[in-house]
């Protein structure tokens, strides 16, 4: 802008001298004005994190051409990743307990909506935008076989809206805003799931819609009750006022509503029924995206409400949340893993395995000590990487074999060695073999269990990992030791294979270099256990 003003003043100076001083004065004025108006975009990164994908979604609809829409979505997704990485770097540079606050519309919190970024949600933002970018790279090739090309632009619009919603839930510091973004992400997720190849996709999207709406309603009820007790919706303000109110019945009901509502979105064990169908029948890339982000963000919401809003003393010492969550987590770890062993479809097996892995994360939350919570949060990151990678591998199989059923995978280890190699790597990480990311998170969970003095819990974590060995081994056995079907198979397309390998090599990398994941997660855990954010 100031360049413009200088140019203007140059042209004016070059002009005739009659109004010389007058014109010069005007130009100087313009330059001053421009300098005043020079926008410092980096201040507005929190708003742009949400606004860019939100505005790119309608642009995708306007562009209409599948290629163009994909290009825009890819660009915006990568931009969002860059923004979230910048924000994470900035938050970590602020040191322990530091937070970035952005006031939407210039209204001061607690009255206005505040975006508040601390170590915890900066970390989750990186996961959401990162997975979104990698999956987006694999999308066009995989989607071609599942959705007519002329409807792709709607897919990209829904995808960007879903990402907007998930990032919005994560970034906002306002409880009601969480609900609004939850609805944005959920509605677009239903649309994405219903785009699957078979009719079953529509019914499973509908099932998810019914469950998700009930979950959203409970969450809203809980937030409403909290508002009734405290008169505020800002999370930081809520936690201060709630500590003064203490544990009365309204607060108890609010906690119950919020935990029940979020648990549905999280697919915590008895409330998980929507998940296997939704993940199985959704388009392959949608599953890869949602499995790594939607339930993770729900976990974040649970963590945020339990630790930041209610606080450890209220939630655990007075209202005994751990007495509810610990058994459910253990049931999820064992029950869902057992069901996974008996699945005939590998995609469905991975979906059940997701339910089990959510159990591990909730276990970390319920332990409510630093190691446990660190384990839960690290597992959030690691599991996002491995599940997203594994579902991309499923996308390769679906594309080349036309199916992900176990019997169709016979001998696929020889026919598609690179693709299946990626599956084995992800499987090892899912089991928690040392040197993979899965090991790191389980290590912290076991440490948390031991620190809490609950050694049977540590044993349970190890035993349930054996169940993961069982269901991964079934696939490995069929794919490597069964006679392959005849006929040549082409290698999976690189545009899906490379993203899958990036994610799964990521699990290997973060299994060896834990400073980023564990460092950020433990900073977040200390922040959460230290009281108010």
């Amino acid at each position: 802008m100031s360049l413009f003003a200088q140019l203007a003043s140059l042209t004016v100076q070059a002009g005739n001298g009659a109004h010389h001083s007058d014109a010069q004065h005007a130009a100087q004025h313009a330059a001053q004005h421009a300098a005043q108006q020079a926008v410092n975009w980096s201040e507005h990164l929190p708003a742009l994190q949400i606004a860019l994908p939100l505005l790119a979604a309608p642009l995708c609809v306007l562009l209409r051409r599948a290629r163009l829409a994909w290009g825009l979505a890819m660009l915006v997704s990568a931009g969002a990743l860059a923004i979230s990485l910048t924000l994470l770097g900035r938050v970590l540079a602020l040191g322990e307990g530091g937070a970035i606050s952005y006031h939407l519309g210039g209204w001061q919190p607690p009255w206005g909506i505040e975006y508040r970024i601390d170590a915890l949600n900066a970390f989750v933002l990186v996961i959401v935008t990162g997975i979104s970018t990698v999956v987006m790279a694999a999308t066009p090739r995989s989607l071609e076989s599942e959705l007519p090309r002329e409807r792709h632009y709607l897919y990209y619009a829904a995808y960007l809206l879903c990402m907007t919603g998930l990032a919005g839930i994560t970034i906002t510091g306002d409880a009601f805003n969480i609900f609004v973004f939850l609805e944005i992400s959920s509605l677009s997720a239903y649309a994405l799931i219903s785009m699957g190849r078979t009719r079953r996709a529509v019914t499973s999207a509908y099932q998810y819609l019914v469950m998700g709406t009930i979950g959203g309603t409970f969450l809203l009820l809980g937030i409403g009750l909290l508002y009734m007790v405290t008169g505020t919706l800002n999370i930081a303000d809520l936690s201060e006022r709630l500590a003064l109110v203490g544990a009365n019945r309204t607060v108890l009901v609010a906690l119950a509503c919020i935990v029940a509502g979020v648990s549905i979105k999280l697919a915590l064990f008895p409330l998980h029924v929507w998940l296997p169908n939704a993940y199985t029948y959704a388009p392959a890339v949608v599953t890869a995206f949602l499995a790594a982000t939607a339930t993770k963000v729900a976990y974040y919401v649970l963590v945020r409400f339990v630790f930041s809003v209610f606080g450890t003393p209220l939630a655990f010492d007075e209202l005994h949340l751990d007495a509810l969550l610990l058994p459910l987590a253990i049931l999820a770890m064992f029950g869902a893993s057992l069901v996974a062993i008996y699945q005939a479809d590998v995609k469905r097996m991975l979906a059940w395995s997701s339910v089990a892995q959510i159990g591990y994360m909730v276990l970390g939350l319920a332990l409510a000590n630093e190691s446990g919570l660190t384990g839960g949060l690290v597992h959030l990151f690691n599991h996002a990487l491995m599940k997203s990678g594994l579902f991309l591998v499923m996308a390769c199989f679906a594309l080349r074999l036309g199916s992900t059923r176990l019997e169709d995978l016979a001998g696929v280890g020889h026919r598609m060695p690179l693709t299946f190699g990626a599956f084995v790597l992800g499987g090892l990480s899912l089991i928690g073999v040392p040197m993979t990311a899965g090991f790191v998170s389980k290590w912290y969970l076991v440490r948390g269990a031991l620190e809490a003095g609950m050694w049977p819990l540590a044993a349970a974590i190890l035993l349930s990992s054996l169940l993961a060995v069982a269901y991964i081994w079934r696939v490995v056995e069929v794919a490597w030791f069964r006679e392959p079907a005849t006929g040549d198979l082409r290698r999976a397309p690189l545009s899906i294979l490379v993203p899958a390998w990036i994610l799964l090599l990521g699990t290997l990398y973060f299994g060896l270099h834990t400073s980023f994941t564990v460092g950020t997660a433990s900073a977040a855990a200390r922040l959460l256990l230290g009281g108010t954010p």
């Binding site: 926008v39 507005h44 708003a47 606004a51 642009l59 609809v61 306007l62 939407l104």
Partner: protein
């Protein structure tokens, strides 16, 4: 229903009034009860009444599916665009005060534009939903 004279005449008289009332609710939203959402629903109700009277094909000629899609997108873009414009003007996202030289004017313009965006999107979404359900040949 085009052959029912009374229905047709009543509808023909009502539809312009409904559309006009929608505009009133839209532009009166800054001063009193009303706003983009309500106005959008009322406007869409006018079009839906038209579709009920004169059939879906006639209504589709008035608002083609592609035009609806564009309107839906434009509404969101207008809303978000106001947000970006307030950043350009040196304020925070959606800070209307900076949109004009004084804050009151700015708030006025900001709310007006944002509500217009809401109105556009809601109108188009409502009509689109009606078309989708009305145009469906088979039940799942």
């Amino acid at each position: 229903m085009i052959r029912h004279v009374i229905l047709r005449i009543v509808a023909k008289t009502l539809i312009p009034c409904i559309l006009l009332f929608a505009f009133y609710v839209q532009f009166h939203g800054d001063f009193g009860p009303g706003g983009g959402f309500q106005a959008g629903v009322i406007f869409a109700a006018g079009i839906i009444l038209f579709a009920l009277m004169f059939g879906l094909p006639a209504a589709r000629r008035v608002c083609s599916p592609r035009a609806l899609e564009i309107l839906i997108s434009l509404g969101v873009l207008l809303y978000g665009g106001v947000g970006l414009a307030s950043i350009f003007k040196g304020g925070n996202f959606l800070d209307y005060s900076v949109l004009a030289h004084d804050a009151v004017h700015g708030q006025h313009i900001g709310i007006f534009l944002v509500e217009l965006g809401v109105g556009l999107t809601v109108t188009a979404v409502m009509i689109k939903l009606f078309f989708l359900f009305a145009g469906r040949k088979h039940i799942l």
